[in-house]
Amino acid sequence: MNMMASPVTDAYLRINGAGKTYPSKHGPVVALSDVNLDVRPGEFLSVVGPSGCGKSTLLKCVAGLEGITSGNITVSGKPLMGPPDGMGVVFQRDVLLDWRTILDNVLLQAEFLGHPREQYRDRALQLLERFGLKGYENRHPWELSGGMRQRASICRALLCDPELLLMDEPFGALDAMTRDDLNVELARMWQETGKTVIFITHSISEAVFLADRVVMMSRGPGRIVDIFDVDLPRPRPLAIRETDAFGVYAQRIRHHFAELGVLHE
């Protein structure tokens, strides 16, 4: 496993020498520096790193929400100009609309994309059922727990069957049990659908548990310091986290954190 894994020939998403610099009161700040990353179609990619390493910025650039100041990003060979087609996003906060029912919140995705709501009603109900929210379709977000709300926001992102799912620390605000639960559900969803997922997290075990490949980022400036494959069988039970093989991967990330002075070994 060398530092930059073997080049990907069939990349779905290609990030080429991407950099992002923005002005501030104390002079220009380099948020991202020379990021090179190829994402294979159907791959589950975890991006892990300490806060301030630019992982969220990278995600926003891939989502077309922010522009990069050097390099380029292509999706299916086409240069990225704004939010790409067939993308779903999940943020750390579920950002459900309080005045809409859970079903209407999920259908918001179709409304925003300009699709007729009624066409997606059945699919929305199916998704909610698959994520354990059957019976809560007509409840309001404030009647649900944090974990259930985040499940609903994942359903919203999946409604229009996106090819690419971008997740920015989606389980960061949840308690450990709920987080484990959602990790398993997300892994199952990914295995069933084969979507390309870019998953940002600062949790080492979450990154390894979910990913085909882990991208390790560092800060000052934000850059990629390591990329490695996670060669663990699927489906993965939660107990896999106690195995030696898992420990080796986790240790590799922990070692990087230690080098950054974030964790002390």
Binding site: L65, M87, F91, F112, L113, G114
Partner: protein, 263 residues
């Protein structure tokens, strides 16, 4: 056990509290005036106030309805105009830098002091009264609505952008409903201010209304009639405030201040 029951009663019966406190105050007031022989020109007893009202109830009710109408129309104008202005301010950098700046500047002037100006501009009568009431009521509505329209979670806007939501969708499906709780708190202040404005308008440009009654009764040193008008104003103000409150509960069942704790 007894304590918790008392606490429960107090929580559940806020309106009962209000009635009991008012009733108690009225009785004390009546007793105090009788015991200390306070002259009616200083402080008339509640019984005399009631008698003065019953002597010519329709005069008071007619004038009360007039004030109510001024308040209601001014409030309606303030809400419609205020919301339009707020949407404009949030949507346009130009309006934000001009109109909003101007509004904030004017808001720091004690606006009641501007009331005589309207008499010069519009003369005495209904239009001056309306103008004064709108001038007072519109500020809290505009300012609250602007804050509400702005206070959208940035990630909600990111989500909308990422799914290519139209500008229209962002305003009508996110910003406006998100601003409704703020609009309603602006309206609660606004309805009270509209009533204040209507009274001030009647003071300076009167002819009719409870404010005008207060002024004429004061001129005749008829303190009892002043009090009749004040009591009616108090009742009116309370009813108007709760009307907005009830409207809020009906319109925004999801709003946090009315949320029932999860069982």
């Amino acid at each position: 056990m007894k304590n918790s029951l008392a606490a429960k009663l107090m929580r559940d019966n806020r309106s009962l509290d209000i009635v009991l406190v008012l009733l108690g105050t009225t009785i004390l007031w009546e007793l105090a005036v009788r015991i200390f022989h306070a002259p009616a020109i200083i402080l008339p007893p509640p019984s005399a106030i009631w008698a003065a009202f019953m002597h010519s109830p329709w005069v008071f009710i007619r004038n009360m309805l007039y004030t109510l109408m001024t308040t209601g129309i001014a409030f309606a104008i303030s809400v419609v105009l205020g919301v339009i202005m707020a949407v404009g301010i949030v949507q346009s950098k130009f309006l934000e830098r001009t109109l909003y700046t101007l509004l904030i500047a004017i808001n720091s002037v004690p606006k009641v002091a501007l009331a005589p100006l309207f008499v010069i501009w519009l003369g005495t009568g209904a239009s001056s009264q309306l103008a004064v009431a709108v001038m007072l009521a519109i500020f809290p509505i505009v300012i609250n609505t602007v804050l509400g329209l702005r206070s959208v979670d940035p990630d909600m806007l990111n989500l909308a952008k990422a799914t290519r939501a139209s500008k229209f969708d962002i305003i009508y499906k996110i910003r406006v409903p998100n601003a409704l709780p703020s609009l309603f708190s602006g309206m609660k202040v606004g309805i009270s201010f509209a009533l204040v404005g209507a009274i001030v308008g009647e003071f300076v440009a009167g002819g009719r209304g409870l404010g005008f009654l207060v002024l004429t009764a004061q001129g005749q040193f008829d303190t009892t009639r002043v009090f009749v008008s004040l009591v009616l104003l108090g009742i009116m103000g309370t009813i108007l405030f709760y009307a907005v409150d009830v409207a809020e509960r009906i319109a925004l069942p999801w709003h946090s201040s009315q949320r029932q704790p999860n069982a």
